[in-house]
């Protein structure tokens, strides 16, 4: 029985409706209702929710204040029009979201299965057909099926965390702005009190007032709250949403992030995080399927001292230099059509029945633990424990040694068209220490042979002396292969003596049934028989990197982004990939490898590494800076480039609270960090650790279900799409098909989004502060009576109509340098990481600038109009003319300021800026026209002001003067800064005068003497299972099985505008994650499937 709650989250409002449903007998239906509204409930429910948002509620309060005549300093429409617009836009968005929402989030409370597990098929959602294991929270799971208890259960609402750095800052700033709003209003209220006492009491002859001066000051306070509320205009939220949406669309539309081979465009799945893409400091990447294609390719081999394999380049993404025809395998009916090999000499050698070549491929066809499936005659499908093995067996298959089927004690292969069955006598299985595997088989002719494949160093120790010459040649080949980053294996065999073997077999049987010390006894036996081997040759397998991965990593490193690879692969494989994708480099001073098996060892290794990188490093306690009760780890610089490789079991100790700082400090000193053999949970823990102590934006990228936890833990999650699984993509914020698109996402889209958002915020605050401060200065001239400077219609439309489009245009189109230059100079990304463009300092500067502008905008018109008359002697120093003049000056000043901010003038921008000015005049003349006045005399009292004052030369001279004075210091300062201390942007923009260089496609070649890892992967081999005969026909359990809490279903939390507020390793999951028992057989999977 399953007990579930369905619930939805409206965006960020924090309200959620909970419905109980499902299959209790007394409930009629188990239909899941996924939409929040219906036609009739939409309006009231939506409005109710919207007003719960603090911003909207604030404006509602303002509206109510305006309805009190004593306080109302503005007409009701100045607030109602913007509020109505905002509510309409948001309601439309909510309605669309509701219509298109298709996902029901289930909160799993309890299950009848042990450990509160349930198995879920998600094929309809993500296309993955296997069953996924989910576990209920222990706290509800313990309640079992006791409905009453469940009904009484009070879940604690998790606090909404806004982790985003920009958002947090924005939120803090808005609070500060409110603070200063109250401060200004208090000053003005005090001013009003003084004025009322000194002047106002004398003025009562003309303007009666019953209230005391104190009460008048009180009312004035609220009146000014209404007038000055434009410091935080409601339209800010709408504009921010529009900009984010626009920048998300750019990501969706980008052709350079479209992968034609799988027809997959990039997708921005959330619209709220774009600007954070420009601030990424840490990238956590999965390896398999993300950096690599998870395709193992039999690339080269060395047989009996002869090297085979085409002369193709390693990084195959760019077109191979040599176009050779691939080998035609049509002679072999059972060949895998997808297998491609270019060296014709090898197939010739096979056809010529070269005995070594035949032995080589026979070994590959026999010595493995792959299982074959033949659904239709001739259609073989291999299920391999590791893709490497699959690649080797497939290679043998194509060269005419087709592994066809196996039973516990036999292996059937088709050798050059002849069906042969070998008796399988023993599998000497692989493990981490042995680093080799062997099989002992009896051929149909009765010949006994041992076939062995393994790491070259290990095999070499066990070779017969007669091979020494061959060894030398093969060693050269192996070095060559390793230098190209290929994964190598050495192959050897020996013929066995029947008598010796039967004795050995008895001892083997004894040892394997003995109860004590079985392992070591077996090891001894294996050791004994695997000696005096004859070398056959070596294989080289390419773990194919995705296209452009090394270049991407190099670019990201230049942008000062730290890349941590978190992989389930074993150390050698991961290290190897680290080198081939340029993460670890030969030039690095050192690559620390942490492999300790005890906390002390790990700590010591970490400390040693720290000392090496920073000999004069301070003690840990000094490294934490207290900032708002948060502990943060300072950024440090090491004395060179280092890399760190840490193993899963060491990581488990390193992540303990006593050691996490040591670990983090060491890791952060390194340029590159590789964590191998990590569980999905550890991946998330590493991300959480960085988030906890570093004030940095993190990004996680992965492709499989095992990356989901990491993707959700990071501020930004990126899923690799276009592959079989969809889980990573479904929980991600952005998805695209290739790792290399990450550099475009960050260095181009992220940088632009960040830049645009910062420019937008700076300009938006500037224009509104300037607008508002003018009221403040006017207060000193109008007896603090809360008289506005501008016409009420101008106040209503300033943000909505006159200044909205130009700033939106800037925020949607602006680019300081184009994408080519962004790639050329990845350092351009660094200011974003330091959050230089919108910090408290930037905000303060912006406020000071506004203050200056508002002084100019008030006092210049004041002095110019004071005591002035028109050319015909008539009035122009009246309030209405002054209001019109000031608002025109303001609009010109902020428009010119916008022009200064804009570094990319498209036709649209020009249209928006000029159009808005034109719109201003059109609307103003309409509002001030006879017709409007005659219809509503009280709403349009400014009749004729525009006609009577805008025809005056001194009015226009004033407008020009204010514009010049507002712009002058800005241009001066900027020009001086460019000359004296140019930023990287200035330099690049300066350099831009020359045409951009062609995009580099430099190929990073590694000349390395490192011996590459051997092509086994992962855990202990499955020889036992293969021989035990227990294996056939059991449904494969997915790789997610080791980590029960991955999907959103289990966690019951669907952050819509999630700024990584979600923490999969957060409280409940952290407590105890009882691993679902993984039977070895479940590890089998088809090797087209992605590896963990």
């Amino acid at each position: 029985m399953l007990i579930c709650f369905s619930y939805d989250f409206p965006n960020i409002s924090g309200v959620f409706l909970i419905r109980i449903f499902l299959n209790f007998n007394f409930l009629q239906t188990n239909a899941i209702k996924t939409s929040k509204y219906n036609f009739f409930t939409f309006l009231p429910l939506n409005l109710f929710e919207q007003f719960q948002r603090i911003a909207n509620a604030y404006f509602l309060v303002l509206l109510v204040l305006q309805l009190i005549p004593e306080i109302s300093s503005l007409s009701w429409f100045t607030t109602v029009v913007p509020l109505a617009l905002v509510l309409t836009v948001t309601a439309a968005k909510d309605a669309t979201d509701d219509i298109f929402s298709f996902q029901a989030d289930l909160l799993l409370l309890s299950s009848s299965e042990p450990l509160n597990l349930v198995y879920i098929e998600t094929a309809e959602l993500d296309g993955e057909t296997n069953l996924k294991v989910k576990q209920a929270l222990p706290v509800t799971g313990d309640l079992g099926d006791d409905i009453e208890k469940l009904a009484d259960f009070n879940g604690k609402n998790q606090r909404w965390c806004i982790y985003s750095i920009t958002s947090t800052l924005l939120f803090a700033l808005i609070l500060q702005i409110f603070g200063s709003l109250v401060f200004m209003c208090t000053i003005l209220a005090i001013g009003n009190y003084i004025w009322e006492v000194k002047n106002g009491s004398n003025f009562t002859v003309f303007l009666q007032r019953e209230d005391s001066a104190g009460f008048s000051a009180f009312l004035t306070f609220w009146s000014y709250i209404i007038i000055l509320n434009t410091v935080v205009p409601i339209s800010l939220y709408v504009s921010v949403e529009i900009i984010r949406l626009g920048n998300s669309f750019y990501i969706d539309w980008d052709r350079k992030m479209y992968y034609s081979r799988s027809d997959t465009p990039a997708e921005a799945r959330t619209t709220t995080l774009n600007e954070e893409l420009g601030q990424i400091k840490y990238v956590f990447s999965d390896k398999t399927g993300t950096l690599t294609q998870n395709i193992m390719i039999f690339n080269k081999c060395s047989i009996n001292g002869k090297s085979y394999g085409e002369i193709r380049r390693l990084n195959a993404g760019f077109k191979p230099k040599t176009h050779k025809d691939p080998v035609d395998f049509s002679f072999n009916a059972l060949a895998d059509p997808r297998f491609v090999f270019y060296d014709h000499t090898l197939v010739e050698a096979v056809k010529l029945e070269n005995p070594e070549v035949h032995a080589f491929f026979r070994l590959l066809a026999l010595c493995h633990t792959v299982m074959a499936e033949e659904k239709k005659e001739g259609e073989l499908h291999y299920q391999a424990q590791s893709p490497d093995e699959g690649a080797l067996v497939t290679a043998a298959r194509n060269f005419g040694f087709v592994f066809r089927s196996r039973t516990p004690d036999s292996i059937s292969i088709v050798e050059m068209g002849n069906q042969r069955s070998y008796e399988l006598l023993a599998i000497l299985d692989f493990n981490n220490v042995r680093k080799r595997m062997s099989v002992i088989v009896r051929s149909p002719e009765g010949k006994l042979s041992l076939y062995c494949k393994g790491a070259d160093t290990i095999i070499y120790e066990r070779l017969h002396q007669s091979c020494s010459k061959l060894m030398d040649v093969t060693t050269d080949h192996l070095n060559e292969f390793a230098g190209e980053g290929l994964r190598t294996l050495a192959l050897a065999y020996k013929d066995l003596d029947e008598e010796y073997f039967s004795r050995w077999r008895e001892r083997h049987h004894e040892a394997s049934t003995s109860l004590e010390d079985k392992e070591s006894k077996l090891d001894e036996l294996y050791e004994e028989i695997e000696k005096d081997l004859l070398l056959l040759g070596a294989t080289a397998i390419e773990d194919k990197l995705q296209d452009g991965v090394p270049q991407t990593i190099e670019q990201l490193a230049k942008a000062d982004i730290k890349i941590w690879v978190l992989t389930g692969d074993k150390q050698e494989t991961a290290e190897n990939i680290g080198y081939s994708c340029n993460l670890l480099r030969e030039e690095m001073k050192d690559v620390f490898v942490v492999l300790g098996h005890s906390p002390e060892d790990v700590r010591q290794e970490l400390r040693n590494a720290q000392n090496a990188m920073k000999p004069d490093g301070a003690a840990n306690s000094l490294l934490l800076t207290e900032e708002k009760s948060e502990n943060l780890l300072k950024d440090e610089e090491a004395n060179g480039e280092y890399g760190l490789v840490i193993n899963g079991h060491s990581l488990a100790y390193a992540l303990e609270s006593s050691m996490e700082l040591d670990f983090l400090r060491t890791a952060c000193l390194c340029k590159a960090v590789i964590c191998c053999r990590v569980t999905p949970l550890q991946k998330a823990q590493v991300v959480e650790l960085v988030k906890k102590y570093k004030k940095a934006v993190t990004l996680a990228i992965g492709d499989g279900a095992n990356d989901v936890s990491m993707i959700k833990a990071a501020h930004i999650g990126v899923g690799i799409s276009g592959q079989e699984g969809m889980q990573a993509v479904l929980s991600s914020d952005y998805s695209f098909a290739q790792f290399r698109f990450l550099q475009r996402l960050l260095l181009v889209h992220g940088r632009w989004s960040y830049l645009r958002m910062c420019k937008f915020l700076r300009y938006f605050f500037y224009k509104n502060f300037t607008f508002t401060f003018v009221h403040f200065w006017f207060a000193f001239f109008c007896g603090f009576s809360a008289q506005t400077v501008y016409d009420e219609w101008f106040i209503t439309l300033y943000n909505l109509m006159y200044t909205a489009l130009p700033v939106l245009g800037m925020s949607l189109f602006d680019q300081d340098v184009n994408d080519v230059w962004s790639f050329q100079h990845p350092q351009l990304y660094i200011p974003g990481q330091l959050n230089l463009y919108f910090s408290k300092t930037a905000f303060f500067k912006c406020a000071v600038h506004s203050c200056y502008s508002s002084l100019v905008l008030f006092f210049i018109p004041y002095a110019a109009l004071q005591d002035t008359v028109r050319g015909d002697g008539k009035d122009v120093a009246d309030y209405q003319s002054f209001a019109l003049l000031t608002q025109t000056c303001l609009l010109f000043a902020v428009s010119i300021q916008l022009g200064l901010e804009m570094s990319y003038w498209t036709a649209v921008n020009t249209f928006f800026v000029l159009g808005s000015l034109a719109m201003y005049f059109a609307v103003t003349f309409t509002m001030y026209s006879n017709g409007m006045f005659l219809i509503f005399p009280s709403a349009f009292p400014f009749i004729g002001s525009a006609r009577n004052s805008l025809n005056q030369p001194n009015v226009w001279l004033t407008i020009i003067l204010t514009s010049i004075l507002c712009v002058l210091p800005v241009v001066t300062c900027r020009f001086l800064l460019i000359q004296l201390c140019p930023t990287i942007n200035d330099k690049v923009r300066q350099a831009k005068a020359t045409p951009p260089p062609p995009p580099r496609r430099s190929r990073i070649r590694r000349t390395s003497s490192r011996r590459s890892g051997y092509a086994f992967s992962h855990a202990q081999g499955y020889g036992d299972l293969v021989t035990s005969g227990r294996f056939l026909r059991r449904p494969a359990v997915p790789r997610a099985s080791g980590f029960p809490q991955v999907g959103r279903a289990a966690t019951g939390f669907s952050p819509m505008g999630r700024s990584a507020g979600y923490s999969p390793t957060g409280r409940p999951q952290n407590l105890k994650v009882p691993d679902v028992e993984v039977t070895s057989l479940q590890m089998y999977r088809t090797f087209s499937d992605g590896a963990p």
Binding site: D263, A877, D878, F882, W905, S938, L980
Partner: protein, 353 residues
């Protein structure tokens, strides 16, 4: 997120290759370079300088005579009399004398001015009913509550025009006399119409439709503002067309000043008179003032201004001087920028990485 198109084939989901979607719109990327900024600054400095000088000459060519008559000469008595509100109905007149050393040539404008009178207080400005002064019959006798407490008197009789603005209308009146050297005195004729914006006189302010009734009959059932001595329909006894809501003194007053110190047009010299064809000749003048408006209540001052104008307006030195100051600021900035550029930025020295 984008709309899925009904394309098929291997590249069905490929985004459009439009300049907009690929963010490749042609654009102009201006930069603050020495080649653009420095010449612009120098040019701007020169333009501002020339403009400033020209405006200064213009302003200097105007003439202005200011007289604060609050307690000048025998107006002192009236000043004291107005101290007490209970004497409001009591008439008081006084005379101030002055001389013009240099004749005022051309059109001469006569203003009255007030200091420290806050026409820009929010509650004061709101205290009017534009519907009423637009001549809407319904509103005439039912003025808006915005006018309170000047909407109705204590008997409930509606006030026309209502509100604090109209109530506080400036009600001193002036007559200017020219004393020839021969001893003869000539009254200086002032035009008391044509003082307002065309839109105010013809659109914003209208009398209620008379339909064969006299203006007084139309206003029957209303009463003038409390402080007024005369009803609105007989503000100008000499010109029957200058009465009611379209009385120009009322309209001028109702166009509230932006700041507490202001001047408002009272009359224009009528140059049809042969004595004043060319303006006001030099000599001695006197102004007879009907001193009604009390200024003690708001610690204010009042005065008159006689001035000539150019197309640029009256004698306000601010703009010319501001342009000259701005010009020197720009020049200073330009020099600083030039030095900075010469020492640091030339040849892109600092742009090298």
């Amino acid at each position: 997120m984008g709309k899925t198109k009904d394309k098929s084939g291997p590249l069905a989901r490929r985004p459009d290759n439009s300049a907009f979607k690929q963010q490749r719109l042609p654009a102009w990327s201006p930069m603050l370079t020495a080649n653009t900024v420095l010449p612009f600054f120098y040019l701007l400095a020169v333009v501002c300088m020339l403009l400033g000088v020209w405006l200064l000459l213009l302003v200097q060519s105007t003439q202005e005579i200011k007289l604060d008559y609050t307690d000048l000469g025998n107006c002192n008595e009236c000043f004291d009399l107005r101290r007490n509100v209970s004497n409001a109905a009591q008439a008081c007149s006084c005379r101030v004398e002055f001389s013009i050393d240099k004749s005022l040539k051309g059109d001469v404008f006569f203003y009255y001015g007030l200091k420290n009178f806050h026409q820009n207080l929010r509650r004061y400005m709101d205290s009017r009913d534009d519907g009423q002064t637009l001549g809407r019959i319904k509103i005439l006798k039912n003025p808006s509550t915005y006018c309170a407490p000047f909407d109705k008197d204590k008997y409930g009789v509606p006030i026309a025009p209502c509100g604090a603005v109209a109530n506080s209308m400036f009600n001193d009146s002036f007559s200017l006399t020219y004393h020839l050297s021969s001893g003869r005195s000539v009254p200086v004729p002032l035009l008391r119409t044509g003082l307002t914006w065309y839109t105010d006189k013809n659109v914003k302010f209208r009398n209620p439709r008379t339909d064969n009734l006299t203006l007084a009959e139309v206003f029957e059932g209303t009463r003038p503002p409390l402080y007024w001595q005369t009803p609105v329909y007989s503000l100008d006894p000499r010109d029957p067309n200058n009465n009611g809501f379209i009385n120009e003194d009322l309209i001028v007053w109702m166009r509230e000043a932006a700041f507490p110190n202001f001047k408002k047009l009272y009359g224009i010299l009528n140059r049809a008179d042969p004595n004043f064809e060319k303006g006001l000749p030099k000599g001695n003048y006197s102004i007879d003032i009907s001193y009604n408006f009390p200024v003690q209540h708001f610690q204010g001052r009042k005065g008159v201004v006689l001035t000539t104008l150019t197309w640029f307006g009256g004698q306000n030195h601010f703009l010319p001087i501001a342009y000259l100051v701005t010009s020197s600021l720009i020049l200073l900035a330009a020099v600083v920028l030039t030095v900075a550029w010469w020492k640091f930025g030339k040849d892109g020295k600092n742009m090298k990485e």
